[in-house]
Amino acid sequence: MIPAPFDYEVAESVDHAIALLADREDSKVLAGGHSLLPLLRLRVTRPSVLVDVGRLDELSYVRDAGTSIAIGALTRHHDVATAPLLQEHNPFVSYVAGLVGDPQVRHRGTIGGSLAHGDPAADLPAVLLALDGEIDIAGAAGVRTVASADFFLGVFETAVGPQEIVTEVRVPKLTAEHGWSYLKFRRRSLDWATVGVAAFARRSNGDIGEPAIALVSMGATPLRARASEAAWASGQDPGPFADEGTDPPGDTNGSAEYRKHLVKVLVRRAAEEASRH
């Protein structure tokens, strides 16, 4: 399909992008375009102007930031998947970036776009939520930092305002004590998850500490499975509690009822894997 008419501006800096966004109502940031372009083509979204931040190379990086690793918002999934710093300090994030879509998608899609889009079926948001990552958002008033727990507000709704852009994402450095698992249940390899589970914990002497489980496609946003986390921490099988507080969609990939079943199986398996890993 062909999008409805729109104007197109190229941002030359973060400030320029923010100014361009403020210039017009209904403006929209264009990053990798792999979520936005399909919506434009289906004429589901009709912005009056696209502000292309895709050429802001200064937002494409993976850096050591002390206790955390900082990832520029424009970093492509492929680069997140293959960055040596992440592979060393947070292989969890690299692994999941490598599961997004297919190679074409991973070479265009960006981590900032994936977060800002606010799709509850996306993979990286759940990992960020499990890791208690942080997101930097720049606007006319400067840069603010938002915790991942406060970032996702609803379906396609995040803490990013219409005239703001995501600039950086930070994830903790992991140690050998940390175990993690990401299970993505999908019909075809390039599909979004029917249900996805990110499980993460610190292991010491067979005990599980600071367990975190985040769920994909189980509600309006990525969700923490608190009841399962508590069960896991107390040495129980977290699986049976995994559907507590979820409100999954029903669609051609699976009914809500099936998703509620599936999440229990996947949470049990992910916790087992994270405990071993």
């Binding site: 008419p5 019909r187 390899s189």
Partner: protein, 785 residues
Amino acid sequence: MSAPAELEIAPTIGAPVARKEDKKLLQGQAQWVDNMEHPGMVFLGVVRSPYAHARIKNVNVDPALAHAGVVAAWSGADIADEWHASLPCAWIPTEDTNAPEHKPIAVDKARYVGDAVAVIAATSRGTAEDAVELVEVDYEELPCVVDAVAALSEDAPLVHDEFGTNRCYTWTLEAGEVDRLFAEAAVTVKERYRQNRLIPNAIEPRAVFVIPVPANGEFTLWSTTQVPHIARVTLSGVTGVPETKLRVIAPDVGGGFGSKLNVYAEEALALAIARRLGRAVKWTETRSEGYVSTIHGRDQIQEIELAATAEGKITAVRTRLTVGMGAYLQLVTPGIPLLGAWLYGGCYDVAGYSFECTGVFTNTVPTDAYRGAGRPEATYAIERAVDALAREIGKDPVEVRRLNFIREFPAPIASGLTIDSGDYDASLDLALEKVGYDDLRGEQRSRRAAGDSKRLGIGLSTYVEMCGLAPSAILGAIRYSAGGWEAATIRCLPAGTAQVLSGATPHGQGHETAWSQIVADRLGYEFDEVEVLHGDTAVIPLGMDTYGSRSLAVGGVALYHAADRIIEKARKIAAHILEVDETAVDYSRGVFHGPGASVTLKEVAFAAWTAHNLPEGLEPGLEATFVYDPPNFSWPSGAHVAIVEIDTETGAVELLRYIAVDDVGTVINPTIVEGQIHGGIAQGVAQALYEDAIYDDDGNLLTSNMLTYLVPSATEFPRWELYRTETPSPTNPLGVKGVGETGAIAAPAAVMNAVVDALSDDGITEITMPATPERIWRALEEVRP
């Protein structure tokens, strides 16, 4: 006459020659319809009904007309006087078939989501799409029906009021004492299966482009079609443009799978609007638009019963089909299920045969040919039912198949046709050996004994199909409007090359390569000295086009015979040149040998062109045409085995291995054959595990794009393990059968038999296609204690 005794030419029939077609495709130099341009051209945008069933009360195109760049806009009523006839349906199976009027743009009622209700002509494609949104249509929504079985109930809404029923036709075929055989049977099984509705998904979307010459009333129409010849005669009928004024060209066509074996509203529209405006016209579908305007496939409910002895010898088969036609009859819609009508006995020797098929209108996109067309459905029903019989009598499915195989050929079958040749044991034996059948059964048993939550399933599909459509007289007898012949011309040019005109029109198969191989082999040209032309009614006047795995088995055989005619005439000239009697000339591969001297066919071609010294009364030139009407269908067969693993916790199916042994007769090019089987199996597995065109109760297509309609990719499949056996067809001199559809025909049954095999110990005997994780999970939930 200085010619060498033998030309050095690689053996070309049977050689895995690289495809001629690929270089230009890979280098982006193919000629696609959508890339064509012409000064002053306009683009069409089609306004489509968002309702499955609605009365069209008013159409206001004025807001669209006011939009900059819009050249014209018409409602169905505005343009109705362009139509001289309905869009064609070439197969009306019975005298009392209900065949509705089908205008390219609906006038009074829209009958499915996607039905065209108005059309825009604009100076750019984007403008046309913008203007489509501006047309105001006042609809009165009506109740709709999407399910074929429901559509037959008394109180179902009528798709076409004038018939007083949604039944389109009922067609029957009876042979043998079926009732007696059932009454006397020691064992009977009765199964009910669903053939999911499928969307063909050719890689190139549909497009049409028309350039008129208004002064002469002439039109050239390029279309993404499998059937330019059929398109010319039928579009002429729809629009009243005489055949002599209409040239149809299928340039490079990017796949079809049957979806381009049709004549569509948009082709008629483009032609009529080019006539109205006197300007070139283009239309290209978007993928989502194609999902609601290009034909779908399958959509059947099948009931099949087998009568058998206690040992499992099948005596009779009874089949009842209810088939969704969709809202209208497209080119072959009602005939598609009937292409399987003779095959519900499979490759088994059965005495009694009863078949009944009822076609039903529903408020959905029309169904029509999709790879296999009728034969995947038949194969599925009989192959699943044979497994059900094996379960019923507690025997291995291999054993039951062996007990029932047809073994003497040619084999007249109960349904009334005759299978040309085959060796079903050979294919099955090879498949079982390659797959390691006994070991797999052992692993299956030990997994079960260990209580493994991952079950192993082994599924067989021993199929036979009929293709190579077809003897014209048989087509006539079953009320198909066209013939089944095919034409080929060979033209030996003066300077040592040959041109082939092929009536069969490729859309990805590789005709240029295979035809060149045949000509090289028979006439002694180098492979690259042969040029194959196709798909242009002005260049190739005679053709029946490409579908039903017919090109090689009919068109290739026509080419073989045309080569005979070339040799026959060339022999006369050669004898004249060699100054000997014709009977003293031997021909082998491009060279005529006389006693002591020889002359090449190329030299003869030159002599025929100069015509300086030809035998008395012989016409100049070396060219021959042959139109071949096959005496029988061709009957490929084989044995496919699928191995699946089912995760009983999630319901996910993984296809671990797939072994295919196919007998497609003589092979001209093994690489092309493998490619066809690869793609066919992929589509068959897709039907079994992934693809499903799902309508909600309001007639909205829920799987309306590639995000939700799950076309699988290579990453979802194991490496296909392909083998062949070969029993040449005795009905044609090449011994060829057909290979275009075998994979899609055999695979759904193999995969679903494997799925059910994995779950049968849990008491599950049926999973509806596609076997989604949720369906399997639900089936297991039902039987869990």
